[in-house]
Symmetry: C2
Subunit: 173 residues, 2 copies
Amino acid sequence: MTEPDHDPGPGLAPEQVATYFALTEAAGALQHHVEQHLRAEIGLSAIQFRILATLAEAGGRLTMTELADGVVYSRSGLTYQAGLLEKAGLVTRCPSPDDERSTLLALTDEGLARVEQAMPGHVAVVKRLLFDPLSEADLAALGDIMARARDHMRAQPPRSAAPRKRRPASEPE
Amino acid sequence: MTEPDHDPGPGLAPEQVATYFALTEAAGALQHHVEQHLRAEIGLSAIQFRILATLAEAGGRLTMTELADGVVYSRSGLTYQAGLLEKAGLVTRCPSPDDERSTLLALTDEGLARVEQAMPGHVAVVKRLLFDPLSEADLAALGDIMARARDHMRAQPPRSAAPRKRRPASEPE
DNA sequence: AGAATTTGCTTCGAATTCGAAGCATGATCT
DNA sequence: AGATCATGCTTCGAATTCGAAGCAAATTCT
């Protein structure tokens, strides 16, 4: 499971493949465990927790597009989850005062309370699974690397295959 | 996006939260881009490619459980995907000579060819998105860290989530 | 040996996800 | 101003996913 035997072709380092697979599998396993924990503890799916946490970080209110952009999610999926969360009383949907067509998702007090209730145990699980075998230096390096990778991916222009996409300039107005 | 304003509680470093979020978001974005590329290039979903690649790494044959264990996937989902892949002629299902109840998934020549066809472009996308902003030292550090994290997660026993795994609970439901 | 427990996989039903199409609002052009 | 295009969200249908239940083979216990 450590060294692939196929021929990846010229100029491609198998070390990168191994790193990528390790990253993907670890991230998948981590997500799985986190999902289990969140659902068992406070009855939220990982994506729901992520939505609420992103809202909390942003100060409580975001438009659907900003939110979907932040959680790397499809618009329709976000609509579905927003409906669930609204029905659960954790968020409210207000029309934006600026753009009538935009919908602002706002965190309710209960929603914020839920996030704060979930956060310690959530982080504890992540700590145990991800950060336990890592040193301080590892943590710093990983944080630095992943932040850089994330920013790089955010800066990636949308693929040309998309029929209707946002403007190439990802600059907020 | 750097420092959440909520109170995570005592003993929990916000740096870890930031690292975890960066990791999750980057992994999610990477997975999304990879999914797009794989589907557009060779008509495989990410999970299908992962199954085929895992099979190739293992020498061509694995049981369903070993495979599901390797790709962190549900058994039923793997059954579904195995059906699709078998119908596509990329794998075959043979009963195990050792255990009659076990099903061995075997990679066909076409399946192996598909993996090898997909691998270069796949790695190129990963390279561009993930490894482009990283130095050699970053790559080595990331590979080391993620491999350690993955092994640690693999070693994690299922908490109490397992319904009826090994121990016959004296409390029937 | 025979019965009970365990293990491995598949089927089933419900929930979730996504892209495309549809609808409404804002911006731009003439 | 009116028309046209662009943007934001939602609905819709199909595909995928998961856990629980079900079934067959193997191991263990008596």
